[in-house]
């Protein structure tokens, strides 16, 4: 006798549970892949927090349905698991936003305003050697050099 339909008892799928879970995953991965590109949604990730809030509301509705006495919906096993995973996603997101980004060394000995920038000679992307002195004195095609903006970045992009 086929067992699969008997196991589900013909109950409708608990869509708030699943959509809440999927939404929480989206709330997590959309930050580095999309919203982090724009300062307005990156500096304070309000869109992602909103998405997480919506996800948690959906999960709550889904859990209530799953455990309702009328037993109309499935999800007694899947529900708590999906909810736990979604909370874990939110916790990880908070870690990324509030901890990992801030864990920077103090750079207390970095050169200050008014000091002469330490000289250096490095290789550029074409393999040529470039010194700071050369960068400062080189003229852009039409304008004399007003200065140089040194941008130190993490690399590994």
């Amino acid at each position: 006798m086929p067992e699969d339909s008997a196991a589900t008892n013909g109950k409708p799928r608990n869509w708030p549970l699943w959509s809440g879970f999927v939404l929480s995953l989206f709330a997590l991965v959309s930050y580095p892949s999309l919203f982090a590109r724009y300062p307005v949604t990156r500096d304070v990730p309000w869109v992602n927090f909103l998405l997480f809030a919506l996800a948690l509301v959906l999960l709550f509705v889904g859990l209530r349905r799953a455990f309702a006495p009328s037993a109309l919906y499935r999800g007694k096993v899947a529900g708590p698991i999906l909810a736990a995973l979604s909370v874990a996603a939110l916790a990880f997101f908070c870690l990324i936003v509030f901890y990992f980004g801030k864990n920077l060394p103090a750079a207390s000995q970095a050169p200050r305003v008014g000091q002469k920038a330490p000289d250096f000679t490095l290789t550029d992307a074409n393999g040529s050697t470039v010194s700071l002195a050369a960068l400062l004195s080189t003229s852009a095609p039409a304008h004399p050099s007003k200065g140089v903006l040194l941008i130190f970045y993490r690399g590994y992009w």
């Binding site: 002469k116 550029d124 200065g147 941008i151 993490r154």
Partner: protein, 94 residues
Amino acid sequence: MGVRPVAISVDSPAESQDLCRKAGYTYTLLSDPDAEVIRRYDLLHKGAGVRGHDIARPAEFLLDSSGVIRWVNLTGDLRIRARPDQMLAAAKSL
């Protein structure tokens, strides 16, 4: 604007060239693979790179034509970068 942007990281020249190609950058990217200059500017972030390499923490320095620093940005949070308007205001005062 007359100010020349120069970016420095531990990426090799090959990696920088790749980045320039992909992102369409036209400005100068310099390689500091042993983080020697990064150390000179006290910007070392030990073990923070992929596979535990030492890299730079983000920072910007605006130098005038004689090499004197006129503006520094040391962000306290990796996610919050200096806004273009802040840099422009500093560059205008050169």
